[in-house]
Structures are given as structure tokens and as C-alpha cells.
């Protein structure tokens, strides 16, 4: 690595615009998921819990449904934590 590249590398990490962009992306993703959730999201979560509960034992707070928007696309994220014991009980 040349000395110029090295210096540039240091400068890049100091670029506050990059920090600004990162902070914005995080806060906006969070706020959109709070504010722009369509009404059906809560019902979707309830029904998913019911379906999952038919097969494994899960607590309500172990199912998380989240809708994020990145640019033009929406991402529906489903996060289920299944406790070891309910899997073991299946066998």
C-alpha cells in the first residue's frame, strides 16, 4: 500500500458525511418500521403465532414481525425464537 492510499484511508474514516449517512439509515429504518406499518401487520403477527403454536411451543414475545423499507423495496422480516425444549418435545 502506498503512503498516499494509507493517508486516504485515514481520511475516509474521518469523513463525517459517511457517519451522517449511516446514522440516518439506521434511524430512518427504525422510524419507518414504527410509523409506516400497515394495519394488517399486527393481525398477521397474531395469526402467525397461532399457526406456529400448532407445531411448536412458542411464547408470543418470541415471534417478531417487522416491515422495513429500503429504497423502493419492502422487506418483511419474520423472527421466531424456538426454545430448545419445545423442539426436543417433538421427537
Amino acid at each position: 500500500m502506498s503512503i498516499m492510499n494509507y493517508i486516504r484511508g485515514i481520511c475516509n474514516t474521518n469523513k463525517t458525511a459517511n457517519v451522517a449517512k449511516e446514522r440516518l439509515q439506521i434511524i430512518i429504518a427504525h422510524e419507518r418500521s414504527q410509523n409506516r406499518n400497515p394495519d394488517y401487520l399486527h393481525r398477521l403477527q397474531q395469526e402467525l403465532i397461532e399457526v406456529i403454536a400448532k407445531y411448536v411451543e412458542v411464547e408470543e414475545d418470541q415471534v417478531r414481525v417487522q416491515l422495513d423499507r429500503i429504497g423502493e423495496n419492502s422487506i418483511l422480516e419474520l423472527n421466531i425464537t424456538i426454545p430448545e425444549r419445545s423442539l426436543a418435545a417433538q421427537d
Binding site: A17, L24, I27, I28, E31, R32, N35
Partner: protein, 274 residues
């Protein structure tokens, strides 16, 4: 068909009133009969930027309360043909504007005008909500700065849910991003969010980029909208933005840092090509 456009931002002091005056002037220069309304009740400012503060007799609230006719309250611009200003009231009564009252005034304006611009107050309170309620399009004024971009995103969410179009399930309000106080030099140094950064985060079409410019303060000092300053980079950028609003395909200018020669540095005011 008359078109209602709200100029809004959430955050205060980002350039809504400057942009309202500049875009209204630009539309009128293009021959469209244009009215620009100050929705900032209690903090009237548009009259100053338009240079008509001494001609205010009646205001928006007088018209809503039927204390004056629209004809009496509208101020005809002295410089630009086809341009009219409806000033805000200086009352401290927060409830001076009502949804029905605003609707009735806009309906009457629609009979006469091609474009009706609503200069929104900052915030997400009643005044800002009423300014956007009847809009067909929204110009989101944003500075390349974290809190401004965040507030713009917030406002976009509100436009998508709290406007007449949203409530009635009509085609949604058309969104336009107007990035103002942009400094290409600082962007190139990595000190300021770039056009790309802001576009990527807000994901709405870019109407224009207005550079940070000394000519904006000069315009406000003299009460002449910056659009009329032939030598101003900001004025040119606003005229371009108006063209795009009318559907023209115009490349963006003043988005990269000018490498000024020593002579340009010494003699030019703005150093931007015409």
C-alpha cells in the same frame, strides 16, 4: 385543471419560504397564473421575501372569516405578471385556520389560477397539516443534513396518510425532493451528505438541487425572489427546477465543485456558467 402544491419540510429554517417565493415566481414567469399562500399563521414571512409587506391589508384568516373577499386580500406582484400573494395572518390564535375554511378558499382560487402554492410552516402541527391537506403535489425541501433528512422522511409518512388524497383513496400526492443549501465543495471533502446519499435514503424523485448561495440573502434583503436574479446560481437552479416541475427534462447544474482560476476568484460574484 388547477394544481395545488405544498412546500413543506418538517424541520424549520431549511428554505421553504425562499423556495415557495422562487418557484411561484418561476411558474408565473412561464406564463402560468400562480397564487402563493403563506400558511405560517402568526409568523408571516412570505410577504417580506416577495417584497410586498407594505401592501398587506387583509390576510388569509380575514378571507376564511369572510371579513374580506379573496380579491381584496390577494396582492398582485409588482414585478412579475400572473403572480399573486395571499399573506398569513399575524394572529396568535392557533385555531384561526380551519379545514373547511382552507378548503373553501382553495376551491375559489382553483377557479382563477393554474397553480396554487402553499408555503407550509415548520413542524407537524395543525398549520403544517392544513397546508398539505388539499395538495396534489408536495415539494419536500431538505438540507443535506441528518435532522433535516429525517424530518423529511417523517413528513413523507404524514403526506401518505393524512392528506385528502390519502383519506379518500385517490391517486397519491406526487412527491418531489428539493435539496437546498447544497455545497458541492463540502460534499467533495466528505463533510456533507451528497445528492446520492439523500436520494437513496428518501427514495423520491429529485426536482432540483439549490446550491448554498450568497444571492439568497441578497434576495431576501431586497425582497426580490432569487429567481429574478439573472446572475445567481441559486436563481438558475430554481428556474431549472420549475422547468422540471412542468415536465421538462433538464440536467442538474451546480452539483460539482467549481475549480476557480485566480481571475475568476477575483472578478466573479458566483462563478457559475449562464
Amino acid at each position: 385543471m388547477a394544481k395545488i402544491i405544498v412546500i413543506t419540510s418538517g424541520k424549520g429554517g431549511v428554505g421553504k419560504t425562499t423556495s415557495s417565493a422562487a418557484v411561484a415566481t418561476g411558474l408565473a414567469l412561464r406564463g402560468y397564473k400562480t397564487a402563493v399562500i403563506d400558511f405560517d399563521v402568526g409568523l408571516r414571512n412570505l410577504d417580506i421575501i416577495m417584497g410586498c409587506e407594505r401592501r398587506v391589508v387583509y390576510d388569509f384568516v380575514n378571507v376564511i372569516n369572510k371579513e374580506a373577499s379573496l380579491k381584496q386580500a390577494l396582492i398582485k406582484d409588482k414585478r412579475t405578471q400572473n403572480l399573486y400573494i395571499l399573506p398569513a395572518s399575524q394572529t396568535r390564535d392557533k385555531d384561526a385556520l380551519t379545514q373547511e375554511g382552507v378548503g373553501a378558499v382553495l376551491e375559489e382560487l382553483k377557479q382563477e389560477f393554474d397553480y396554487i402554492l402553499c408555503d407550509s410552516p415548520a413542524g407537524i402541527e395543525k398549520g403544517a397539516l392544513l397546508a398539505m391537506y388539499y395538495a396534489d403535489s408536495a415539494i419536500i425541501v431538505t438540507n443535506p443534513e441528518v435532522s433535516s433528512v429525517r424530518d423529511s422522511d417523517r413528513i413523507l409518512g404524514i403526506i401518505a396518510s393524512k392528506t385528502r388524497r390519502a383519506e379518500l383513496g385517490l391517486p397519491p400526492v406526487t412527491e418531489h425532493l428539493l435539496l437546498t443549501r447544497y455545497s458541492p465543495t463540502r460534499v467533495e471533502k466528505g463533510e456533507m451528505l451528497s445528492i446520492q446519499d439523500v436520494k437513496e435514503i428518501l427514495a423520491i424523485p429529485l426536482l432540483g438541487v439549490i446550491p448554498e448561495s450568497e444571492s439568497v440573502l441578497r434576495a431576501s434583503n431586497t425582497g426580490v425572489p432569487v429567481t429574478l436574479d439573472e446572475n445567481s446560481d441559486a436563481g438558475k437552479a430554481y428556474r431549472d427546477a420549475v422547468g422540471r416541475l412542468l415536465g421538462e427534462d433538464i440536467p442538474h447544474r451546480f452539483t460539482t465543485a467549481q475549480k476557480k482560476g485566480i481571475f475568476q476568484k477575483l472578478f466573479s460574484r458566483e462563478g457559475a456558467p449562464a
